[in-house]
Subunit: 458 residues, 4 copies
């Protein structure tokens, strides 16, 4: 049983070319002219790209006293509808440690996911137990460990904990990830704004200024450098953080930066909307920034100082957001984006000339697969690669709206965005799982956990 | 008649993996396990990489009253011996214009070259004739135009000539290249040092300080930006120039920088050697810089702010160099490197951990092919690509010496460098043209001119 | 015959303190408590500051086929009305050379000026005659030489001319000044916009983008560094230029930058006004920039990377501006500001907390006097200093309007600005020449040429 | 009883000029030509400068289990011998709080000091008591509070403590000072080097790399910015820290940097001396850096991005240093410099052309007095200023040696430095307390505590 994608232009990170793709089973068998297969997927007039990988999601995440409403079922299907064939979620250990938490995550993901997935493991403290569990986590196929420099009193780790964990990563061939905001200062500023009576969503932005993110990014990089390990800064939202990354890279350090599609296209003006609900739905950390930061992020993607575009998809309903009425600190932090990342990036990035189509593929898929060490199983259109593919039709367009989205959240932060460029078909391991206009449905349990090997240890 | 390369690890810009390569005729037919062919090339214990491309050579170049002694025959064969399977040389128009000059270059290259080659066309003035000839040059397969901001009274163009030519490049889908040094200031400083009685090779370095290169780089970038065209800075030798490139890239401009293997590894101390011959042999423009600049260049290659490594191979004999005895301005400018670029870069770059093997391939071959628009015919190990390949043996080593080189020059600026990593075999379009220890010989006339198409015009 | 200024707070560049000032004749005799004199000037509730020095004016300048309409009489009186007690104008040599031009300038200035003045000498070409005249100019009391990198075909000098002149400055202990825009590129862009049919004032801004200024600034600095002389960049209007200055200063080079009060407070939006006259009146070079550049300039003044605030007062009537109807290239370049520099800077700089009152004095007077080598005769409140003083009343306010200005121009680019802080009294060499609300009149011929000595030669 | 200093050239921060100085009692009475007084101090052929102020000393400091051996008596006298007329020391609160500690310091200082002095108060934790004591400290004449980001387990404060204290400073009109090194990472690296068996003084440098200082500087600046208060970074030793300071200043923040004379002239090679004693005597935090950092610091002083030069004089005997034999972590941190700061800075800074004599005065005295808010009582040569003066003879020279120093320490880190420029006379409040070649003696108890007022509160 084979499938051939015919008539399209393959867009890879390194080049664009016309060729058909023959899929046998779950993988790409051949690439070339005039291929034949049992089933034909029409790509005429379209681009064929590696399926998007979202390296940063929080599906059904328990956080701030509630649980993100986007489920593994709805979230992964929303991804497929938007051309994203794999997500990497974050496991947060509780009292029972990393391995138990991974089991808990797996119990939700494996039965619901329509697309493939992996995890990052969070390090939320430090002890001998952490030291001992990390290699076991690596053995189970996770080679990335996330550290929060914010969320004081909850997930936050301090500098020596981070240094200890980074050293452990270096020894294990794992890559540390960092949520970079100075949690002490955020907490103090939050308190100050509440004390001043500024309790609305705008205070969320005020209490997390770009300087607070830039500082933490700079600190994380120094600690990684001291530990002799590369580092990946999640949700790089501002010039301050980007500047720290550039400065490090220009000394030869291996540092990666991940802008979100939200920060690339939405600005802090959103928090000043008179409608509390409107503003609260946009509350995430770091918050949206002013437009000068957007220019910095776009240029970084073109220059290569920033490498990937993610979503930090962590979606709460309006109802959940209202937990923070009267106290912005209690608004669950997170927004969605998994369904719209590719089309928004294409529209605002490729159609404007900021990024080439090849760079689009690099930042949404190939670079991510390489950095997370699953390339070329994922992120590539090569014989032997998983047939996670998007037939991208640059002529399809729509206006983004919560009213017709696959996500089960009751709003969309990109509401009203007109996008050009959408998946005509999305294939997950060889199977068409999304076809434009054909009422595709989720296939819970179809998605597989993708093991990621460690890097050669330092 | 097929060839299979067996038992090696393919190192591409994007990944490393074990596979055999099947070659039929001049191109790669298949890549995979257990391939079979008529002839077997043993790659066990070795890496297989795309053949090196040297984007910057001057073989038999008429310059400063003499002609570079390295011939197309010796130069291209030296390249093959070192793993470089293609060179891009510079055509310098004379009174009869660009097309006649191209014919003249071709008459030398086609009968002598052992490896493939292409040209950049130099723009050494501006007139309606230049305007008219440029599209014809493009039609003949050249999509890059070089501009000299130095060599006042000879090759130098001024700002409005450069702007006019850059605009023409934009319209034609061609890429402008720039030799960036402020020719006015160089000329004035040369005169000053001669007037002061400082006439030895060290004055060559004094009269071309890094600031003079940084300034011109910055200016070229501004002019390219105004013309709406990317720009490629040849022989980026210093932090000042690199800084200008970085600054531009961080605004989203498309700027490329090309360090030379010489500037990465040799410093200005060379010019203070008491032996006039020793110092004069190292005279090139820009001159070697102090070690802090080397750090900057290496970090740039790792960070991606610099993209390629070249040689500017323009080799004169000691006898020729002596034209400048008593007047450093008359020392023919140029050094060699084509034979040793890969082994020196591997030794000083990969073995030290500064670059990964994949980055090594990127900067010596893949990036170059992409920027010059001959990818994936060249610079790739993909089915359909020309079988320009190097079986790179990291265990082979030697001490570089003029006494046993293929270059016909009587010295070598890397004399005494111990290198680890050398070609076990070099293949040019499917044929083994260099085999370590087997007395391979040049094959004049074997090399072909490779046409390079224009980019989509702006 | 003595005067005492009583009851005020002296604001100097280094400190603020309460004291009276006793003036005898033209100079400050004593500073201290409870001084007595024949006449009392009331400074209660006010600051006493050194009179403003405007280092950059063009009164009655012949330029672009007409002559700036602001006369020495009206311009210097407007200065006094605004608290500026000295201006430094630019002498432009014609066919008869520098000394004759200086005579011509002097013939206009000496009989009209109400306040003191000096000149910069322009170097608009290079020859043995320039070499020979420069020391004579220095001997006549001018230690600064101005160079235009723009105005191609008119005032512009090229790089080797500039280098020659800078070397001469170094030998004479003179300071080179530079108008930094790349004249070649400006000319080419002007032609391009005209060819495209964009002929209005907005094309003036389009054809002189910040990059063009940044490039020239960077080049001027490199040339000065090669010549071993400090350099002063006039009308630094943008981050690009400021960045080049900072970068140089951080290598230990002595580089000065001069923002104008216009660039600090007006933005490029002015050129898009639908009223051609409105926009054309704002045409000057460099043009106004967007607001991000203003932030850069303000921060530079606070940080010390920019040192002085000037006006480039070169004022043409609306009638004159209309020479450029249909061809923006013919709009006489220049705006006014001499009357409002201090009050606008105080309002937008000191009242907002960007600058301290002491920094205000430094950038409007003291730093200028030091850089131009007339300190502490000017720019200081010290015994022996010329009694050029302003009694600055922070409670006086007005709305700037052409309808009630001293300048004889028929408009004002700051029209409608509400300013707080104005001179209650202005004293020129001990005499009250402006008193708020008292119908002060110009005193043509009162102003004196102030000789400026060379610096110790390099 | 009056004194007149005759025949010299006054060198102030703003200018140099020839004048006599008349002193009556402890203050300057008049400045001008041909002054007369009861006693004449001969300044012919010499410069007269404001006495040096050392803003950073630790006399008799209890630290690391011992007490700095330089006493208030010997230290302040060594200062006078070198031209420094005032020191600012650090009070470290113990269990009894800030006020008791200030009493303890005062009990040592008041009876021993030959020259004037002030204190900075250290904030080594945070509590309501700290909050309450700070205004009392301010009321007693201290307007600067010091924070240690290093010395984990001892003096170190964390980010929220620092933020709380900085906010308190803002409210009180006090200036926070910061010792900027990341104490967590230093502690971890120390442990690592000890574990690796690297226990000598070189490990002190290894465990405190420039990145660790740069990080903390960057963090301190962010925290100050969030608190709305300027910040002063003590002992800025490296480009990383300087870069953070520059970056902040270029955003308009008020940040000060203090290089030490040691970091300007001594490099990390000192720690590799085979003589353990030699190396251990140089152990201080931050450690000496490589020469590229020195270039950065010198350029910063010229550019104004760094403002003052101090010593961090905290001198232990060789005997004390030996506490760290076998464990570098126990070597008492600190070196001397109070006696030699001016002569070394003059020799290495002014004689080389890096700094002007006026800049020398600014960075050793005037800027310090302004930043610490004791200007113009100190740091100025103005009528009414304290007559703390140095008659600086640029022709006096010596070779620095422990064998003939006034400091009571048994070595000198500048041993063997040839210096040109030394005090001919030093005057403290009008009295000659040091005369070259005349066997001047300490005058314990002569020095006075100088109150420093708060700045206007934010
Ligand atoms: Zn996060
Ligand atoms: Zn997240
Ligand atoms: Zn060249
Ligand atoms: Zn070349
Ligand atoms: Zn101008
Ligand atoms: Zn002007
Ligand atoms: Zn310290
Ligand atoms: Zn200290």
């Amino acid at each position: 049983m084979s499938t051939v994608i015919k008539g399209g232009t393959i867009v890879a990170a390194d080049r664009s070319y016309e060729a058909d793709i023959l899929i046998e089973g779950e993988t790409i068998k051949a690439i070339g002219p005039d291929l034949k297969g049992d089933t034909v997927v029409d790509a005429s007039g379209a681009y064929i790209m590696p399926g998007g990988i979202d390296p940063h999601t929080h599906l059904e995440m328990p956080f701030m006293g509630t649980t993100a409403a986007e489920t593994w079922e709805s979230g992964t299907f929303a991804g497929l509808a938007g051309g994203t064939t794999m997500v990497v979620d974050f496991v947060i250990p509780g009292e029972d440690g990393m391995l138990a938490a991974m089991d808990a995550w797996e119990s939700k993901a494996t039965r619901q996911a329509s697309g493939d997935y992996s995890y990052h493991m969070c390090v939320t403290g430090w002890s001998e137990r952490h030291f001992d569990e990390m290699p076991k986590v690596v053995a189970r196929g996770i080679n990335t460990f996330k550290h929060f420099m914010a969320y004081k009193g909850a997930l936050m780790v301090n500098d020596d904990e981070m240094f200890a964990s980074f050293q452990r990563c270096a020894a294990l061939g794992a890559l540390p990830l960092v949520h970079a905001e100075n949690g002490d200062i955020v907490a103090a500023l939050q308190q100050k704004y509440m004390a001043d009576g500024t309790s609305g969503p705008e205070a969320h932005a005020y209490s997390r200024p770009p300087e607070v993110e830039g500082e933490a990014t700079n600190r994380a990089i120094m600690i990684a450098d001291a530990a002799g390990v590369p580092v990946y800064i999640v949700h790089t939202s501002c010039e301050q953080s980007h500047e720290a990354i550039r400065r490090a890279r220009q000394k030869g350090m291996r540092v990666y930066g991940e802008p979100l599609i939200q920060h690339l296209t939405l600005d802090e003006g959103e928090y000043f909307n008179r409608d509390w609900d409107y503003a609260a739905r946009r509350v995430m950390s770091p918050p949206f920034r002013n437009k000068s930061h957007q220019d910095s992020l776009w240029a970084g993607l073109a220059a290569g100082s920033l490498q990937v575009v993610a979503t930090d998809h962590c979606a709460f309903t309006t109802e959940q957001k209202r937990m923070g009425l009267g106290d912005f600190r209690k608004i669950p932090n997170g927004t969605g984006g998994i369904e719209d990342r590719l089309s928004v990036l294409w529209t605002r990035g490729v159609e404007t000339g900021r990024l080439t189509p090849n760079e689009f593929v690099a930042v949404t898929s190939t670079n991510i697969a390489q950095i997370l060490n699953i390339y070329p199983q994922k992120g590539a259109i090569l014989p032997g690669s998983d047939a996670d593919l998007v037939v991208w039709d640059p002529k399809l367009s729509k206006t983004i709206s919560a009213s017709n989205q696959k996500s089960i959240i009751d709003y969309n932060v990109f509401e009203g965005f007109k996008v050009n460029g959408l998946p005509r078909y999305t294939l997950s391991r060889g199977e068409v799982v999304w076809a434009d206009g054909q009422n595709s449905q989720p296939q819970p349990g179809r998605g597989k956990f993708i093991k990621r090997k460690p890097f050669p240890a330092a």
